[in-house]
């Protein structure tokens, strides 16, 4: 048998409204490592949880810029240094003709960085998660509204956190093991 360690608590709430209020209280209590799980997007939950704005935009911006520079350089180098050829009587360095491929590579690099950046920030791909140990958690895709608080959180205290979750309106609080 492997050693059973506590991953955290999973608290269930009856309605999206209860969850929204509870999330605000968890946030105001100073917890950092907690998450909300709902069957559908709940409007305003990001603010209630105190989620900062995603940094994905900056990642995409950077990669799009690199894609554009790379695309432009690729064409400029091949048509002036690598394989200079006269096409349609235009100069070797015809930047106008390069714009379309530059734009295309900018979009390509931006789109890929958006996809893989999203994976990175969401810590995907991931084959298993301790929350899946809970039978009750399956209802998160149906009619359950959950808040999970990780034991790793600096403010986490098994006894206090459990009473805190009950106090803010949790229907039931379940301890989740990390194995």
């Amino acid at each position: 048998m492997t050693k059973q360690t506590l991953y955290g608590f999973l608290a269930e709430f009856s309605t999206p409204g209860d969850l929204l209020q509870a999330a605000e209280k968890v946030r105001d209590a100073g917890y950092q490592k907690f998450d909300c799980h709902t069957p559908f997007p709940v409007h305003g939950l990001d603010d209630a949880m105190g989620m900062p704005r995603t940094k994905l935009g900056y990642v995409i911006g950077l990669f799009a810029l690199l894609g554009a520079i790379g695309g432009f350089w690729l064409q400029a180098w091949t048509s002036t240094v690598g394989y200079p050829m006269v096409i349609a009587g235009k100069p070797y360095f015809s930047w106008q003709a390069f714009i379309i491929v530059t734009f295309g590579l900018m979009v390509l690099a931006g789109a890929f960085s958006a996809l893989f950046g999203m994976f990175h920030f969401n810590r995907l791909p991931r084959l298993h998660h301790p929350l899946f140990n809970s039978e009750n958690f399956k209802r998160a895709t149906d009619d359950g509204f959950f808040i999970s608080i990780e034991a790793q959180d600096t403010r986490f205290n098994p006894a206090e956190t459990r009473t805190f979750l009950t106090k803010i309106g949790a229907k039931n609080v379940e301890a989740i093991s990390s194995e």
């Binding site: 704005r53 349609a88 106008q96 003709a97 714009i99 379309i100």
Partner: protein, 388 residues
């Protein structure tokens, strides 16, 4: 100015009204004297100023059409402002009269002489048909605009929204056709040998962009005077900012496409238009246009914070409004001054003249009715609208 919070009507509006009217009259009087010193300059400056305010009104018209066609509710709170701009458009027909008088100065096709190309084009490009078309555009616009405006100010509920949507759906198609032909007639035909099928879309891009940023500036002006301070939030500015950002790119995309195909084809009868805009100080004007109408606003507006910070947004909006004027100037003036840019005081007096009266009419429309569409069922949703 002030606001009556029971009816949402603006009060104490007389001083703004007088100031705008005074500006307009002063501009018109100065321009009138300008006509006697240099008629060619007067007509060209007048056409630039007329196009500037007409495209602004047409952009607002399109904004309202899109608002109804898409069933948007975020923009319900600013709908009255846009409708007031739209409602001032038909008045501009009066200011087309000087252009009729200046046809021979502005448009070489009006006297084709021995020019075979112009003779070939004369079944379309002749003074009678030109006049008929312009009057027709204004009649069609007037009919749709007054219908939408009346439905909006008399709105009682959901059913009127459906009516406005039906009018807008048909109106969008009519708008696309009339706008394209109007920009061919008024602007593209100043260089009657040249043609570009994308030209209407190009002018439209600038027109819609100018209307979006004008609404931003107008809303900021109202809020600065204590009106709608709680109703128009940074969420609305953020969405207007996204729209403006999108159309900064759209304008550049269309302008780039027009240039790109002509550059690739390299046929003299097409490239001549760009060649004229790449000599002397026109080259500087072209570069200013690329930087001010695309690169600078693109870099600034891409940031989340810039669209929500009214100070930064206001600066970009002012820049873009000036650039819209530069764009039209750059389209029209090379046919008068092929050697280089020559700014005249009449460029400003005609802008003030037509603009003063146009803004006065907008102000008149806005103060006649509540500044919010109070009967609209989505108004509260629009005010409380949030989410990034």
């Amino acid at each position: 100015m002030n606001i009556d919070l029971k009816t949402y009507l603006l009060t104490d509006t007389a001083s703004t009204r007088t100031r705008l009217l005074a500006l307009g009259v002063l501009g018109l009087v100065l321009s009138f004297f300008g006509y006697f010193t240099n008629p060619a300059q007067f007509y060209h400056s007048w056409l630039v100023a007329f196009s500037f305010w007409a495209t602004l009104g047409l952009g607002a018209f399109f904004f309202v059409l899109m608002h109804h066609v898409t069933g948007a509710f975020w923009s319900t709170v600013i709908r009255r402002i846009v409708e007031s701009v739209m409602g001032a458009l038909p008045l501009l027909l009066i200011f087309f009269i000087p252009i009729i008088f200046g046809l021979h100065t502005l448009y070489h096709w009006s006297d084709p002489g021995e020019d075979p190309l112009l003779i070939w084009k004369s079944p379309y490009l002749n003074t009678t048909f030109f006049g008929i078309r312009t009057v027709l555009y204004f009649i069609v616009w007037y009919l749709i605009i007054s219908k939408l405006y009346k439905l909006s100010v008399n709105q009682t509920g959901e059913e009127d929204l459906r009516r406005m949507r039906r009018v807008s759906a048909a109106g969008t198609v009519i708008f696309a056709l009339t706008f394209t032909f109007a920009s061919f007639d008024w602007l593209m035909s100043t260089d009657a040998h040249w043609y570009s099928t994308i030209y209407g879309v190009y002018i439209f891009g600038g027109a819609y962009l100018s209307a979006i940023i004008f609404v931003v500036l107008f809303a900021l002006f109202l809020q600065h005077n204590g009106i709608l301070q709680k109703e128009i939030t940074s969420e609305h500015y953020h969405d207007l900012g996204k729209l403006a950002f999108g159309f900064v790119i759209f304008w550049a995309y269309i302008a780039g496409s027009q240039y790109f195909l002509i550059w690739y084809g390299n046929i003299p009868e097409e490239t001549v238009w760009f060649a004229h805009r790449w000599v002397g100080s026109w080259k500087t004007a072209s570069l200013v246009l690329i930087a001010g109408h695309f690169i600078i606003p693109f870099i600034v507006l891409i940031f989340h914070a810039a669209k929500r910070n009214t100070g930064i947004f206001k600066a970009v909006a002012l820049l873009l409004l000036v650039m819209h004027w530069v764009d039209l100037y750059w389209n029209i003036m090379p046919s008068l001054y092929p050697d280089g840019v020559r700014i005249s005081w009449m460029d400003f007096s005609t802008m003030a003249g037509i603009g003063g009266i146009f803004l006065w009419k907008i102000w008149d429309n806005l103060t006649r009715h509540p500044v919010l569409p109070t009967a609209d069922p989505y108004l509260m949703q629009s005010i409380n609208f949030n989410k990034h």
